[in-house]
Every structure is written in structure tokens, then in C-alpha cells.
């Protein structure tokens, strides 16, 4: 398995070029999205729920293929890969799901050992050592014998993080990693994302709507609305952005281009009031 094809751009680990995608032709979710994620960085893809950011993440991981444009990930255009090629690419990626997605029938130890056992033929002592190292990195070596149901949400997410870095991925994807965490767990996850990224020499992509929190950890941000990238820049540039949508979102304002009300007929008509 070559590490990257000669044609790939060495500075970008993910290159999305003019990508459009829709679950059906009538409702495009992504519309002409282009972005390039530099190697070694921690970047954020932010925006409101339903703006297409999770879909973009799924395009990057090769769960969906662009209906137009190209998605080049780790040197491969995902649309051109067959089943085996796609799986080979995914072995070099790690993904943290929103609620961890731990295997509930396996212990914490076995959860972290899962990718090692599935992909590598390692002696049991080595598996033991590797799992303990990964669990130590997220501070949960002592919880190895517990079952996922015995953990809090924050701890479960740390275990899932340990599992996703088990094969030392080059690209880490985080789907809403901060949702539903208490402030301490949140701080732990933020620190881990940065530390693991730097110690593994990986690249991290965080998809989130927790803008304020995420701006503290990322190097660069793409802001999405309605399936398009509407703003991009460093966290400071985003905070200072004059773009009305970004301004409303970053500052959590009620007034702005995003209306409070879902489109509806006139209020009076719904209450069957006679027009005055």
C-alpha cells in the first residue's frame, strides 16, 4: 500500500475541490465546497445544525462520494477507490463519533484492542501493552476492566478516543466531540485533541457547532451555512468577522440572518383570527 500517490499535494492531507452532494437530486446538502486541510494542523468545520458539515465529514471519510467535484483524502480520490482501497484508506484514519459508539458487548480493554485484533496479528502481550499505553494517554488505564455502560459520557468519549488512535492514524476526524460534556470533561477532551494531534504527528478535523469552545483549540476554521463555505480564517479572524451570519453564530445572538421562527404561514392565520 503506497503511502500517497505521486500526484497528491504533499502539503494538504485533505483536498475538497468543488464538491457537491445531495441525498437526492432535489435537495443538495453540499454546494460547490472547496477546502484544503494542511498536514499537521487542527482545523474546525463549523456551522449551524443541518448546514452540511457532518455530511462533509462523511464525504471525507468516504461514507458518501461527491456527486460533483473531487474529494482527495490521504492522496486518494475517494470516488475512485474500490471497497478494499477505501478500507485501506480508513485504516490510516481515526474517527471519534458524537457519543463514542463504543461496542457495548465488549469491555473497555477489548474496545481499544478491537482495531488491533482485527487488523494486526500481534502477540497478546503486545496487544496488552499497546492498549494500556492508549488508555494511559486518555487517563483511563484503571478503567480497562469496566464495561462501557459503567462509564460517564465524558469517560466513554475518552475511551472512544483511545480506540480511534489505536492504529496511530494520520488523520483524525471528530464529529461534535464537545456535545453534552461537563466543563471538566470538556477541558480534558480539548487538551487531548491537541496533545494527541501533536504527539502522533496527525492532522485533526473537528466538526462542531460549539463555536466558542472550538475556536480555542483549532488553527483554522471553515464556516458553513446552507451547504456552502461562507467564511474561513484563523480563530481571531472568525471572531472579528463582519459577515452577519458568522457574527450572529459566534456571539450567539437571537437577531440576525438566521431567523428564530421556522418558515410558517402568518401567525394570525394559524390561530384562525379574522384579519383586522
Amino acid at each position: 500500500m503506497p503511502q500517497s500517490s505521486p500526484a497528491s499535494d504533499l502539503s494538504s492531507i485533505v483536498e475538497i475541490r468543488n464538491v457537491s452532494f445531495g441525498y437526492d437530486a432535489a435537495r443538495p446538502v453540499l454546494r460547490d465546497v472547496s477546502l484544503a486541510i494542511p498536514r499537521g494542523s487542527v482545523v474546525g468545520i463549523m456551522g449551524q445544525s443541518g448546514c452540511g458539515k457532518t455530511t462533509l465529514l462523511r464525504v471525507i471519510m468516504g461514507a458518501y462520494f461527491p456527486s460533483a467535484g473531487t474529494a482527495r483524502v490521504l492522496g486518494h480520490a475517494t470516488g475512485e477507490l474500490d471497497h478494499a482501497g477505501l478500507y485501506a484508506m480508513r485504516r490510516r484514519m481515526g474517527m471519534l463519533f458524537q457519543f463514542g459508539a463504543l461496542f457495548t458487548d465488549l469491555s473497555i480493554f477489548e474496545n481499544v484492542a478491537f482495531p488491533l485484533r482485527e487488523h494486526l496479528r500481534l502477540p497478546e502481550e503486545l496487544v496488552q501493552d499497546l492498549v494500556m499505553m492508549k488508555l494511559h494517554a486518555v487517563g483511563l488505564r484503571g478503567a480497562a476492566h469496566l464495561m462501557p455502560t459503567e462509564l460517564s459520557g465524558g469517560m466513554a468519549r475518552r475511551v472512544a478516543l483511545a480506540r480511534s488512535i489505536a492504529l496511530d492514524p494520520q488523520l483524525m476526524l471528530y464529529d461534535e466531540p464537545f456535545t453534552g460534556l461537563d466543563p471538566i470533561s470538556f477541558g480534558v477532551i480539548v487538551r487531548l485533541i491537541r496533545e494527541l494531534n501533536d504527539s502522533l504527528g496527525a492532522t485533526s478535523v473537528i466538526v462542531t457547532h460549539d463555536v466558542q469552545e472550538a475556536l480555542d483549540v483549532v488553527d483554522y476554521v471553515w464556516f458553513m451555512a446552507d451547504g456552502k463555505v461562507i467564511a474561513q480564517g484563523s480563530p481571531d479572524e472568525i471572531r472579528a468577522s463582519a459577515e452577519p451570519f458568522v457574527n450572529q453564530f459566534v456571539n450567539g445572538k437571537i437577531e440576525g440572518p438566521v431567523p428564530f421562527h421556522y418558515p410558517a404561514p402568518a401567525y394570525g392565520a394559524d390561530l384562525e383570527l379574522a384579519p383586522s
Binding site: A88, R90, R91, F103, T104, F114, P115, E118, A160
Partner: protein
């Protein structure tokens, strides 16, 4: 107006028919893919053995107890009828043939569908709803090979064994009531049974039935689980569908198989 309503009804009917045919085709392709990707389940047979434990061993209590009672009832009812014709010593034959030919595979299959089939569907459906299946795909592990195939083969292997145990337990129940309670001669009970039950015609046909039911029930169970919408309602509907569809499938297949197996002599 009338034509419009009629047309709408016809369209709905057509839609229902095409979507069920499409679904059957999808389920068949799923089975084919599953069979092609069963290497892991066979190579790492421990995975399949774990599923034999969940589907088979944990169903043992309900299978053995039900078998015992069915056998006991058969003996009571059978004796009542047989003694009118002075043939009460054929009680063993009646109990054994009813069980190995019909009741063993069918009742064990129905119990297996409700006990193990529903559990398989719910487990796979919930794994999907909690993104465990997606997580596996992201780790470059094929969930059909790793999750579905061991459950499928575990069910297919368990079912004939459970049906055999059901029949054995039923025959023992028949013995308890017929010989110990009613007082049919033990020698006649066993020797007539031994003489009348044919290995290939009765036993093997019963085993064949239970293999077919095992494939049908487990196929329906894994497919419904894998195809379930990832919501609480979706999983609950899929579980119900597994029990209903596989019970109907067992009864329909039983008729077809019985017609093929036991009518040969009448032609």
C-alpha cells in the same frame, strides 16, 4: 373523481407490490453478500461459537420445557384416541413421529424466532442506532463479516440442534405420561417406536426442515436488524416484523416441505 380515487388506490397497490419485491431482492442480495463474506465467521470460529451460545444455549430452557410439555400433551391426547382402536401400545410411535416430523422443527422454529430471532434483530438494530456499525466501518472492519455473519451461522447451526433437543425432550415427556402415568407397557412403547421411525424418511427429513427454518429465521432476523431505521421506533418495528415474518415463513415452508417429503408414496 371516482377515476381519480381508483387511480390513487391502484398506484398505492402498485407501489406496495414493487416495494415488497424490491425489498425481497435487497434481502436476497444481502444474503448473497453475507454468504460471500462468511470467511471471518469460519476462520475465527470463536466468534460464531459465541453466537451459538447466545442463540442456542440461552434458548435451551424454553426449548426443553416446551418440548417436555408438548410431548406430555401428545401422550395424553394420543392415548385417548389410540385406546379406542385398541392400539394404545403404538403411543410411542405416535409421539415420536409427530415430534420428529412436524412439531419438533415447527414449534422449536417458532420458539427460536421469538427467543433468538428477535434478540438478533434488536441487537443489530441497536448497534446501528448507536453508531457501532458505522464505527466499525470507519475502522475498516466490514460489519457484515464481523457482526452479521457470525450471528447468521450461529443461528443456522443452533436451530437443528434445538429442534433435535425439542423432539428428544418431547419423547421423554411422552414416556413420562404414557408409560409412568398411564401405564402403557414400556417395552412396547420403545420397541414400536424403534421399529416404526425411519432414519432417512422421518429423522433426516425433520432435520432438513429444521435446517431450512434455521436459515429462514436467522436470515430474516439479521436482515431486519441491519435494515432497521436507526431509531427506537424503527428497531421496535423491525423486531416485531422479525417474529411475525419468520413465524409465517416457518408455517408456509413447513407446508411446502411436507408436501415434497411425505407425499411421494401416494403417486
Amino acid at each position: 373523481m371516482l377515476i381519480g380515487t381508483l387511480r390513487a388506490r391502484l398506484e398505492r397497490l402498485g407501489e406496495t407490490v414493487t416495494s415488497s419485491i424490491w425489498r425481497l431482492g435487497f434481502a436476497s442480495r444481502f444474503l448473497f453478500y453475507l454468504a460471500m463474506h462468511s470467511g471471518t465467521a469460519m476462520r475465527r470460529f470463536r466468534l460464531t461459537i459465541a453466537q451459538i451460545y447466545f442463540a442456542g444455549v440461552l434458548s435451551l430452557v424454553i426449548i426443553l420445557v416446551s418440548g417436555l410439555f408438548v410431548g406430555m400433551v401428545l401422550a395424553l391426547q394420543g392415548y385417548e384416541t389410540l385406546q379406542r382402536f385398541g392400539a394404545s401400545e403404538s403411543l410411542g410411535v405416535l409421539v415420536a413421529l409427530s415430534l420428529v416430523r412436524e412439531l419438533g422443527p415447527v414449534v422449536a422454529g417458532l420458539l427460536f424466532a421469538s427467543r433468538a430471532g428477535s434478540a438478533i434483530t434488536a441487537e443489530i438494530g441497536l448497534m446501528k442506532a448507536t453508531e457501532q456499525i458505522s464505527a466499525m466501518e470507519m475502522m475498516a472492519v466490514d460489519p457484515i463479516a464481523r457482526v452479521v455473519a457470525p450471528r447468521f451461522w450461529g443461528g443456522v447451526i443452533s436451530m437443528p440442534l434445538l429442534a433435535a433437543l425439542f423432539s428428544a425432550s418431547g419423547i421423554f415427556g411422552g414416556y413420562l405420561v404414557g408409560v409412568q402415568l398411564i401405564g402403557v407397557d414400556a417395552g412396547a412403547f420403545w420397541s414400536q417406536m424403534q421399529a416404526a421411525v425411519d432414519w432417512s424418511k422421518d429423522i433426516m427429513n425433520g432435520v432438513l426442515k429444521s435446517v431450512v427454518f434455521g436459515i429462514a429465521v436467522t436470515w430474516i432476523a439479521v436482515f431486519e436488524g441491519y435494515d432497521a431505521p436507526p431509531t427506537a421506533e424503527g428497531v421496535s418495528r423491525a423486531t416485531t416484523r422479525t417474529v411475525v415474518t419468520s413465524s409465517l415463513a416457518i408455517l408456509a415452508l413447513d407446508f411446502v416441505l411436507t408436501a415434497l417429503m411425505f407425499t411421494g408414496g401416494n403417486h
